[in-house]
Symmetry: C2
Subunit: 331 residues, 2 copies
């Protein structure tokens, strides 16, 4: 049985191109004692993967050249030599950009796909959803009546941030690219307002949308968006720095001009990665499942078909071409 997979062919300088990837076919590795074989049905594409492609220390080990690209997957156990897993178990884990994964099961979690479609466990009920929960509720800690702003508001993380903010009684304002995304954020997800940064007057539009300033800013983007938010932050406000996607392909870093707001307004800024807070997963996930099951949190997916289309879909994600959670359907 063949396993089609995507490996890192070369490191990008600036924007990622399809030439940075190579699609390979290799025989499936048969599971040894203690291992299982998983057929991956869904692959998650996420901005953090861009950082792994660089030859620099990031929060995780870099991706080595020639290795299968790192990535979250959802699939089904098709062979088991590990008593903790049975054939037919549905599992999520980090099996990478490939059709099959052979693994001892470390970091693999069974899911109950009767509560939500399997793909949701890579998005709203997976790493992105828990990231939103941790960054908003643990780091920003908004109070009812406060104003929460989130960038990349229609994305897998941002869309959940704003909806939780509304559930907690906050004013939720999104920043997104394009009218269609902003309409979705306001009309379908229930945000109070959304700024289309592509309209070219981010500062003025954001100012108008936050008449009482910003108490919590959930940052996914960086660059000019960060400066615009810093200009509107209130005294004793909080910023959860979750991502800086505008910078990942930049060859010259953007210079943040309004750092002084952090002093003047006594802002708390906290960079975070959800994998540092695994102990919160057990608290966050049941809440998220409940909100999704009851329709209080909605989500949208952009689905590419087949492993060979993963590189193109990933590049689209970095450019903001996706709408909601970017997935690859593998089978």
């Amino acid at each position: 049985m063949d396993n089609k997979r995507v490996v890192l062919a070369s490191r990008p300088s600036g924007w990622v191109t399809e030439a940075n990837f190579r699609i390979e076919t290799a025989p499936v590795a048969n599971p040894k004692d203690g291992e299982i074989l998983v057929k991956n049905l869904w692959l998650s594409l996420d901005p953090y993967m861009r950082g792994r492609m660089n030859d620099t220390k990031s929060y995780a080990a870099k991706q080595e050249i020639g290795e299968v690209m790192v990535g979250g997957t959802a699939g089904e156990v098709i062979e088991s030599k590990n008593p903790k897993f049975a054939v037919g178990d549905q599992v999520v884990g980090m099996l990478g950009w490939q059709q099959y994964g052979t693994t001892a099961g470390v970091g693999l979690n069974k899911i109950d796909a009767s509560r939500a479609p399997m793909s949701a466990f890579l998005g709203v009920l997976g790493m992105p959803g828990v990231t939103a929960w941790v960054g908003l509720l643990e780091i920003c800690q908004p109070k009812a009546g406060e104003t929460v702003v989130v960038s990349a508001a229609s994305g897998a993380v941002g869309s959940v941030v704003g909806q939780i903010a509304k559930l907690k009684g906050c004013r939720a304002v999104g920043i997104a690219g394009g009218k269609a995304k902003c309409d979705y954020v306001v009309k379908e997800l229930g945000f109070d307002a959304c700024i289309d940064y592509k309209a070219g007057k981010l500062d003025a539009d954001l100012k108008a949308a936050v008449p009482n300033g910003i108490d919590c800013y959930f940052e996914n983007v960086g660059g000019e968006t960060l400066d615009a938010a810093l200009r509107r932050m209130n005294a004793f406000s909080r910023i959860a720095v979750c991502g800086l996607i505008s910078q990942y392909n930049a060859t010259e870093p953007y210079g943040v001009k309004t750092f002084q707001s952090i002093l003047t307004n006594r802002i708390k800024v906290q960079g975070f990665i959800v994998s540092d807070r695994m102990e919160l997963w057990a608290k966050a996930l049941p809440e998220l499942i409940g909100w999704v099951a009851s329709g209080k949190i909605k989500y949208r997916e952009t689905v590419a078909q087949g492993i060979e289309n993963a590189p193109k879909a990933f590049i689209g994600l970095l450019k903001g071409e996706n709408f909601g959670k970017q997935l690859v359907k593998l089978a």
Copy 2:
């Protein structure tokens, strides 16, 4: 009796000049019932005053044109119509850039000048010393063996930060301007190392001085110094943003290029002002008095003579011409 005082004559654009101030003489205001008259013996000059001179919202109300410049003072009660104060009491408070202050006594505190010279209660035992204590021990919370870096290391705040860090078993590294200040920081104050940013190779020198990276950064300066520190921060490190003196006279703000380190290293950044944490004063001050009395914390003062020299001394402070705490001796 005449009261010589310094008022704000005009708002600076960019660098402060002596023309932004006006020296006036007016009769001393006689205390009414409930008030006291204080003869100010010492005036404290501090970087925060620059922010008050702007026509923009900062953490405190701006200074109005024509009003006496805001400032901390130490002096002696020479007339009292308030039962809480007696003639001869030595007090510190915010009576401004003037020789005499008439006040109801709100925010005025009596000092025990038998423990230390009166001027110390404006520096190491006053707002700067408590600022160092709060920023380092409450915000950065360094553990023994960690590396603490502080900018403006020979200044009123920075010198205390590094000495407390040493008392807590940390590696203390300063950044200061010029060989004389660096020699003082290492040889007299006991820091482990000091980088002279004027030597022109801040990045390389800082890298060499922190072989294990930076766990706590106490920021007084901003600009290139901040970028240099961000490049060396460790995972889960902390930054206390106390001041950004390099930016106070800038007409174009410096663009911070390494903001991404906050995400990658999951740094906590906290802007703070000691006056927000007045409840900590009662805990910090006795510790500081003990350390100063026992010689564990040393300090240095630069003293200008006479109220009419306050503007010039303040401009010197903004340019880093002072060495240690900048004071004006008023009588």
